[in-house]
């Protein structure tokens, strides 16, 4: 049984990505009790799936390690993974939360030795790699996953494969009888840091993501470039596994379009500029099709640097549609550019859709009365009481701005629980 102590001076943080971790750490390091609830089996969220950060091109693993260490060392934080908020009621300083914890089938005896993974045969689509690879029925999502414990796929339960995993474990860590648990908590303030998800590229029908193998999304491209990723760090065409040497990036794939996402997703311009550096490093040429490049303030320097790269071409045009050259399986980009109004039909070996950001959770699952804007993000306004939104739960933000927003939310949440403490003397 999971034992969690919480009072109305406790802060509940929903979502353990970089924003949730930041809010939790800032509040905990200020001496507050924090419960961090994460849906995935590990913390870190989508930054764990990034190869490099813009604009410094440093690795997210660095900051992740620091944050994981801070979390591990801080007795004020309780991390609940594979956990979701089933319901939240109450008012500022006095919320009741019901947390549903899914069974991991692996207990804290796990040493992450990997014997169970070696023992089992069944494979499942790896969500961590956006389905570009498979993982075993007993798996660890990625090499730095924290908590450092394996997970068993629910579909394995009751199969002989699961028994093999149990037999292989020398530490008695596998508990196939583990059940879903429900935990009731009293908390004073709640910070939603539920993050974002990539916009479903299948909805952008003219681009044929569902029809053409060599049209992929920016998040998939990012996974490809990870040396530990599904292609071992190589940029490979899904159709024939050959290295792509001519890559097109389509900006605003789903963003700034009233047919899809009305808002600008803010990160995609910089993400694509960053990804051209991966292509250049791999000896490939890049072409960016864009409406306008939104590289704000200090990012302008990075944009200038990429513009100076002779391997990168910029075409001012939103691609109208993509057709397929059947022989080469090259997607052919069709459109008219804005600098001269020239009609083009240009084949590329690989096309990367810079997909937009949308809120990862459906607004209808949020507690009643929480203010939601027209794009589905949580609006931080006074009527939300002791509920705050950090990072991409509040807007489409890059990591830098998400962390700023998360720090601000920690302060807001601390003010709420301090008021509770003050009134209770």
């Amino acid at each position: 049984m999971t034992d969690v102590v919480a009072t109305n001076e406790t802060i509940l943080v929903v979502g353990g990505g970089v924003s949730g971790m930041t809010t939790a750490l800032e509040a905990a390091e200020a001496g507050k009790q924090v419960i961090l609830v994460e849906k995935r089996p590990y913390v870190g969220g989508r930054i764990t799936q990034l190869h490099k950060y813009f604009p410094k091109l440093c690795f997210p693993t660095c900051g992740l390690e620091i944050n994981q260490r801070r979390t591990k060392q801080n007795p004020n934080i309780t991390v609940l993974t594979m956990a979701e908020v089933a319901s939240l009621t109450g008012s500022e300083g006095d919320y009741s939360a019901t947390i549903k914890i899914s069974p991991r089938y692996v207990n804290e005896n796990c040493t992450a030795c990997g014997a169970c993974e070696d023992a089992v045969e069944a494979e499942f689509d790896d969500e961590y790699n956006y389905g570009l690879s498979k993982h075993k029925g007993a798996y660890r999502a990625h090499r730095m996953a924290y908590p450092e414990r394996y997970v068993i796929e629910p579909a394995m339960i009751g199969t002989a494969d699961a028994d093999k995993a149990k037999e292989a474990c020398k530490f008695g860590a596998i508990d196939l009888d583990m059940q879903e648990e429900t935990v009731e908590l009293k908390v004073g303030a709640v910070v939603y840091a539920t993050g974002w998800r990539p916009y479903d590229a299948n909805k952008i029908q003219p681009y044929g993501y569902d029809r053409y193998q060599n049209v992929i999304t920016s998040v998939e491209f990012e996974r490809m470039n990870d040396p530990m990723g599904p292609t071992g760090g190589k940029i490979l065409r899904p159709s024939d596994g050959k290295e792509a040497k001519d890559i097109a990036f389509i900006q605003c794939a789903g963003s700034r379009d009233r047919n899809y996402l009305k808002h600008c997703s803010r990160i995609c311009c910089m993400a694509s500029l960053k990804q051209t550096t991966y292509a250049t490093d791999a000896g490939a040429k890049s072409t960016i099709y864009y409406i306008d490049i939104r590289a704000i303030d200090r990012f302008e320097d990075f944009y200038k640097k990429v513009q100076a790269d002779e391997n990168v071409t910029f075409i001012k045009s939103k691609v109208a549609n993509i057709t397929l050259d059947n022989e080469t399986q090259n997607p052919v980009l069709q459109g008219v550019d804005t600098e001269g109004y020239n009609r083009y039909a240009t084949p590329h070996e690989l096309v990367v859709l810079a997909v937009g950001m949308e809120p990862s959770i459906d607004a209808s699952t949020l507690p009643e009365g929480v203010s939601i804007n027209e794009h589905g993000f949580i609006e931080n306004d006074g009527t939300n009481g002791g509920i705050f939104a950090a990072g991409c739960a509040s807007d489409a933000l890059d990591v830098n701005r998400a962390v700023q927003s998360a720090t601000a939310c920690a302060l807001k949440a601390i003010q709420v629980v301090n008021r509770v403490a003050g009134s209770e003397g």
Binding site: C252, I291, A320, N321, G335, V336
Partner: protein, 207 residues
């Protein structure tokens, strides 16, 4: 140049965008274009236009009045609505194209020998005679749009289709004599006259 055209030139001077906003159907949407190019790329007739919609919008903002209004481009629109469906900003592009074509025609500076313009005029004249389209007469008028000899050639080439339509009771040869009409022809004409008066008043109010 028509009198109305001169009046409009004097009134709006260098601000063609303002003129379009005030006088062209859905013209106030033009400024919303962000020049992404999806309309131009999505247009099935795109390769045959002198200026795709995206360029037309930029030309309007640049004050290229003569080039826009006397262009054949807007007359190439087939009303497939692909551009409206795909425009990220939901501009009613098809309607704006028709509005520009119509405004150019009203000012008397639309291209004289553009086939769509000629056909549109024939369609309108045909419709206004009886309040119903006389398909036989319209078809014949269309055959002879490029002269008598070409008309005979066109008619012969399409005779099989005509015969098939006659057999399927889709073409009545008796329509050549007057043809069917609406019940209240004078009522319809009065209605159209009133509508034209209202529009004239609106345009002259803008002068």
């Amino acid at each position: 140049m028509s009198n109305l055209n001169n009046q409009m030139v004097n009134k709006y001077r260098n601000d063609f965008l303002k003129e379009v906003e005030a006088n062209v159907e859905e013209g106030d949407w033009v400024k919303m274009c962000m020049q992404c190019g999806v309309c131009a790329g999505s247009c099935p007739m795109g390769p045959y236009w002198d200026h795709p919609p995206q360029e037309i919008f930029m030309m309007i903002r640049a004050g290229k009045r003569e080039e826009v209004l006397s262009s054949t481009s807007m007359w190439m629109c087939t009303s497939c609505y692909n551009c409206i469906a795909r425009c990220p900003r939901e501009l009613p592009i098809t309607h704006i194209m028709h509005g520009l074509a119509h405004y150019g025609k009203r000012l008397g500076i639309a291209p004289k020998n553009q086939p769509t313009l000629k056909f549109s005029q024939k369609f309108w004249d045909n419709l206004m005679t009886n309040g119903r389209v006389n398909e036989l007469k319209l078809g014949i008028a269309l055959y002879f749009i490029d002269g008598f000899v070409q008309g005979i050639k066109n008619a012969l080439a399409a005779s099989g289709i005509g015969l098939g339509m006659f057999k399927a009771k889709r073409l009545d040869p008796m329509e050549i004599l007057g043809g069917h009409s609406v019940k209240d022809k004078s009522g319809l004409k009065a209605m159209i006259k009133k509508a034209q008066e209202i529009e004239e008043a609106r345009i002259s109010g803008n002068q």
